[in-house]
């Protein structure tokens, strides 16, 4: 593969920084870093790691950045918004998709995709963290459950506790009350997942859900959330093999389309 044919997309999110290497034949490799360091440094590290993993000798020069920290990636040839990149990435993976639900650490967004892969409409969560990955993280801490085990524990529940979906702070106090009352953790976890899905369904409803529906972002790794979401939306969900790199993939596709 000629080095100059390879481009990269970088998604600087609030929790993860991901990099995707793209060649005209497909995805060469990727890397995901959970990073709190400065955006550009993390982006360089993610890009170097993606290159090292697949033995790609030189770091691509045509790089497009997306994500809330995209402005910090000064070596990018241009920036592209999360909404546009999610639509582009989801369309490339699933050309039949017309809706992408991007469920990240701090942002939940629904994007309607046009048949040619462009973002046609979108809606995002507002200021409250209810409905975001950060909310689940907070609840995991309160319940003293590892984040990655939350979904499976919730799936095993045979009942659900009521948890508010309006406000992350109120939800936290409700969860603490449930703990004090001695409710099983699994019931509380099931209720938490319902609350998160309530918010996601509300956001999706603002643009109208059109089949097929792709779910991306870190929350797409949570099986309980996906099961609840699928049941509430009443449509089967398409999940990419690695849902956390779809934004970076969309950015890489923009890089591929950029004039060299």
């Amino acid at each position: 593969m000629a080095g100059e044919d390879v481009v990269a997309g970088i998604d600087v999110g609030s929790h993860n920084v991901s990099a995707v290497l793209l060649s005209p034949t497909g995805i060469l490799g990727y890397a995901i870093l959970a990073s709190a360091e400065e955006g550009e440094r993390a982006a360089k590290r993610a890009l170097a790691q993606a290159c090292a993993r697949v033995g790609h000798a030189s770091v691509p020069t045509v790089v497009v950045a997306t994500g809330c920290g995209r402005g910090s990636v000064r070596f990018a040839v241009r920036e592209s918004s999360e909404v546009v990149c999610q639509a582009r990435g989801a369309h490339w993976l699933f050309p039949q998709a017309r809706t992408v639900l991007n469920l990240g650490a701090e942002s939940s967004r629904a994007v309607r995709i046009s048949p040619d892969g462009r973002a046609a409409a979108f809606a995002t969560n507002d200021k409250c963290a209810a409905g975001s990955g950060r909310f689940l993280e907070l609840m995991a801490r309160v319940l003293e459950v590892p984040l990655e085990e939350m979904g499976d524990l919730a799936l095993a529940a045979d009942a659900r506790a009521e948890v508010s979906s309006r406000c992350a702070v109120f939800a936290e106090s409700e969860v603490i009350s449930h703990i004090h009352r001695g409710l099983p953790k699994a019931h509380i976890l099931a209720g938490i997942h319902v609350a998160v899905v309530d918010r996601i369904v509300e956001i999706a409803g603002r643009i109208g859900v059109e089949r097929e529906v792709v779910v991306t972002g870190g929350l797409a790794l949570n099986r309980a959330l996906l099961a609840e979401l699928e049941s509430r939306l009443g449509v089967p969900l398409l999940i990419p093999p690695e849902p956390r790199i779809v934004g970076a993939l969309g950015a890489a596709l923009a890089a591929m389309a950029s004039p060299k």
Partner: protein, 366 residues
């Protein structure tokens, strides 16, 4: 041009205090676009639109809950902090629940020598014009009593001419958004300063601003239309500009609504002419049906060449919120994309708004 107008909004309290000291005149505060400022000016007083500071509303939070309109709240906060200590009077129009609440709040907390509740009809009709004409006569009488002298017809006529002249220059400046790419934030700063400065002073500033605007580098952002409830600072418009948007036309109280219509100078019944201008000619969802409001909005939008519309609804401004679903449906049916915000004019929401505006612009630009 831009920094000077920006400064006047920031310096509004100092400017009003300086005017008072210089002239010995009375300063009368007011809310909303429905109060005929010409009558206050003709009474020899300085009308000033109340404007808030939204980043720190620590004083008012003990008086009002968080889920009410932040605009009058922020104004009241300024008063509680003593910033409006120079006011001799206040006019509260009967426009919405929260502005109405300002009447009692001021009555309880401050002893203003002049506190007037202006009855404004709830819809545009010939009976409404008759009613408002009579009400403006009552208002004129109250100002005469407070000022201690009658308002001569000639003085009122001069005031009407002066305010019309300022509106004409604001219209010329606003037109430069389309013809010369003048940033809309400059126009909004000019409007906000007109709301708080003596009109004679503002008129002179406008002449300078127009001369300077002709030589300013043009904006090159995506042409957009902005429909908003009260935005009493230009930060949101500036944010749109930072994201690559260029507001070529707007329908908002601290924007086109302030200057788009004149008072008929030839009408021998001056109060009726004022009633017509303030009730009939200023679009606002609290007094007109969504269909009529949309028709006016579409006229401006289509003439402007805007490729999308941003609607900013000040949180808890129900009047504007009610018409949003209809506006969205009708605009999108015409192929005009819509981006909607419910905001509070605080910096905490800016980054979320920035992300959405950038995405909206990127989608339209393709």
């Amino acid at each position: 041009m831009e920094p000077s107008f920006d400064r006047y909004r920031e310096r509004r309290h100092e400017e009003a205090r300086a005017w008072k000291e210089r002239t010995g005149g009375k300063v009368v505060g007011l809310f909303c676009c429905d109060v005929p400022e010409e009558l206050i000016h003709a009474a020899g007083m300085l009308p000033v639109r109340l404007l808030g500071e939204h980043e720190d509303t620590s004083e008012v939070d003990i008086h009002f809950p968080v889920n009410v309109c932040p605009y009058p709240k922020a104004c009241f906060d300024q008063a509680l902090k003593g910033q409006y200590d120079y006011l001799d009077g206040l006019v509260v129009p009967n426009v919405c629940d929260m502005v109405r609440a300002m009447f009692g709040s001021w009555q309880i907390n401050f002893s203003l020598p002049f506190l007037y509740f202006l009855e404004v009809p709830q819809k545009i009709s010939s009976q409404g014009i008759d009613f408002f004409t009579v009400e403006l006569g009552r208002f004129r009488g109250a100002l005469e009593d407070f000022g201690g002298h009658p308002i001569a017809d000639d003085t009122l006529r001069q005031a009407i001419r002066l305010f019309n002249a300022d509106r004409e220059l604001l219209r010329q400046l606003s037109a430069l958004r389309v013809t010369a790419g003048l940033p809309a934030s400059s126009v909004q700063d000019a409007v906000l300063s007109s709301m708080v400065l003596p009109k004679e002073q503002h008129l002179e500033l406008m002449k300078e601003a127009l001369a300077e605007a002709a030589t300013a580098p043009p904006a090159d952002g995506l042409p957009l239309f902005l429909s908003a409830s009260m935005l009493d600072e230009s930060d949101f418009v500036r944010l749109i500009e930072e994201c690559g948007g260029h507001i070529v036309a707007d329908d908002m109280p601290a924007g086109t609504r302030y200057f788009q219509a004149d008072v008929d100078e030839d009408d021998p019944n001056q109060l009726r002419a004022l009633a017509r201008r303030y009730l009939e000619d200023i679009p606002c969802p609290r007094k007109m049906l969504p269909e009529a409001h949309l028709a006016r909005l579409l006229d401006m939008l289509e003439a402007s060449g805007a490729r999308g519309t941003i609607i900013h609804n000040l949180r808890a401004c129900d009047c504007h919120l009610y018409e949003y679903p209809y506006f969205k449906k009708e605009l999108e049916a015409r192929g005009l994309p819509v981006l909607f915000f419910r905001g509070e004019e605080t910096a905490t929401e800016r980054e979320q708004q920035r992300a959405d505006i950038e995405a909206f612009i990127e989608i339209i630009a393709g």
